[in-house]
């Protein structure tokens, strides 16, 4: 028997372009911090010169985040309600505190990192002075502070994946793959931005190669997540199949994220060398574009796919 919808009401979602932009910028910040932490947490000397610019990149890319969040509220002057009405079952409630604590910790981390590398930051002079004493860092060394900041950063990024993942009846979002997918995308976009920043300084060949290898690895992981998502969506239910259909029909996803954001950069970033600076730059820019488009397609198609079923 054929079924044809003649008249179906789906109340419009109030989420617009600000939500994927918010997730994107937060991911950029977290990804850049992950690169900085390669030196401060994992003690890779090769990333020593990269650690500080990566941390500053992380801070600068975080600046739009609170503004995007406020702009997305239709009652922005009531944002303080978030601080006084904590709902433990709401992912946003937890996320609110994470995105307050993360940048504060990041500032502290940058001050401490600058101090360890002999870089004075006038704006953070007071923080740097207090960070020079063990009381000022509550006994935390640079590594301890890095681990704390990185943990907060990872949680601040992951919460958006859970924010989408716990929504009932949104088959595209209800996936255990989503946090890993978002986090990988965050790391890859952050690393790509750090690569652009670093290429404009005095880059070292070995460091660039390692950074590009991280980007390539993360891109490969993204392909794994994408294909896993396709298989599980397509095989488990009719709802999943319809969502997959919509995803594949979305040029933002297929052409934008998969082709321009993953496959083309994998080719461009192959055999990285400082002689191919412009190619590396274009590759990194495409990776960032892909990360942005991924957020748009996952948020947009996720809502659209659920509209077929209510």
């Amino acid at each position: 028997m054929n079924t044809q919808d003649v008249y179906v009401v789906v109340n419009a979602s109030p989420w617009n372009y600000l939500v994927p932009l918010y997730i994107f910028f937060k991911g950029l910040s977290v990804g850049a911090l992950c690169i900085s932490a390669v030196y401060t947490v994992f003690r890779s000397e090769r990333f020593k010169t990269l650690a500080f610019p990566a941390a500053i990149t992380s801070l600068l890319t975080f600046i739009p985040v609170p503004f995007l969040l406020l702009a997305d509220l239709h009652q922005p002057l009531r944002f303080w309600h978030l601080l006084v009405n904590f709902n433990p079952t709401s992912v946003i409630s937890w996320g609110t505190w994470l995105i307050i604590l993360y940048p504060l910790c990041l500032l502290w981390y940058i001050a401490r990192l600058g101090l360890s590398q002999g870089i004075s930051i006038p704006i953070l002079k007071g923080v740097q002075e207090s960070a020079s004493t063990s009381q000022g860092t509550f006994g935390l060394g640079l590594r301890g502070l890095s681990i704390l900041t990185l943990s907060l950063a990872l949680l601040a990024d992951l919460y958006t994946a859970f924010l989408l993942g716990v929504v009932k009846g949104k088959v595209l979002w209800n996936s255990a793959l989503l946090p890993g997918y978002f986090l990988t995308s965050a790391v890859v976009t952050g690393a790509a931005l750090v690569l652009i920043v670093y290429l404009n300084k005095k880059p070292e060949e070995k460091t660039v190669r390692t950074l590009v290898r991280i980007i390539q690895g993360a891109l490969a992981l993204e392909i794994f997540f994408a294909i896993s998502q396709w298989i599980t969506l397509g095989a488990t239910s009719l709802q999943g199949q319809k969502a997959l259909e919509l995803l594949w029909k979305d040029p933002v996803y297929l052409i934008g994220d998969i082709f321009l954001g993953i496959l083309v950069p994998l080719v461009l970033l192959n055999k990285p060398s400082l002689n191919k600076k412009p190619v590396l730059m274009i590759g990194a820019l495409l990776v960032i574009l892909g990360g942005l488009l991924l957020r748009f397609s996952i948020v947009g198609v996720g809502i659209q796919a659920a509209g077929l079923w209510n």
Binding site: V8, A12, L73, L238
Partner: protein
């Protein structure tokens, strides 16, 4: 014997719905619902192959779920369930983040363009508190809607549920709706030629 605590609910007998949309209109008029939002509406589907074709009407509204996803996700506790089991929004507390609107699997919430907060069906609590029926029930020309206390076994709605087999929308989600349907072609396959 009815328990002291009320649990309001609604039964919609789709056999009696003619798709006149009086529920949609009366709801809009009663509650000042904005042009681009709906608290109550009627979905229409056509089934079959010519000449054996049937049009189905499925009136929809907030399901006033016992396990309401909108209440769970609201970061400021603006969405809540009152003592009578009605899911409501505290419009003075709502920050308009839209999470509840996205989280509602029934698409029963919308952003009120004027107030800039989430809005939804309230089972016309202002009317019910005066002993009246919700506007959609009062104005239903086919008497397809029955509203009442589900905790009272002698109420019309409880009797109706006992006598007629009822379904709920998306029972797989575990939301435990308090809106029930009789003979509805619900939980259907997606649109555009689903089989």
């Amino acid at each position: 014997m009815p328990t002291e605590k009320k649990r309001y609910g609604m039964v919609i007998d789709t056999r009696k719905c003619v798709g006149c949309m009086s529920c949609t209109i009366s709801c809009k008029m009663e509650n000042g619902v904005t042009y681009d939002g709906f608290r109550s509406w009627v979905d229409m589907t056509e089934r079959g192959v010519f000449p054996r074709v049937k049009r189905n009407f499925i009136p929809k509204l907030c399901n006033h779920c016992e396990n309401a996803p909108c209440v769970t996700v609201c970061p400021v506790k603006a969405s809540y369930i009152n003592a009578d089991g009605v899911v409501l929004v505290d419009q003075k507390r709502c920050i308009g983040c839209g999470y509840c609107i996205v989280a509602c699997p029934y698409s029963a919430r919308y952003l009120h363009e004027g107030l800039k907060v989430a809005d939804k069906c309230t089972f016309c609590v202002h009317r019910v508190s005066m002993g009246l029926e919700p506007a959609c029930v009062h104005n239903c020309m086919g008497k397809a809607r029955i509203f009442g206390d589900l905790n009272d076994p002698l109420s019309e709605i409880s009797q109706y549920i006992t006598k007629n087999g009822v379904q709920t929308l998306r029972p797989d989600l575990g939301t435990n709706p308090n809106v029930f349907y009789v003979d509805a072609e619900i939980n259907k396959l997606p649109n555009k030629g689903g089989k």
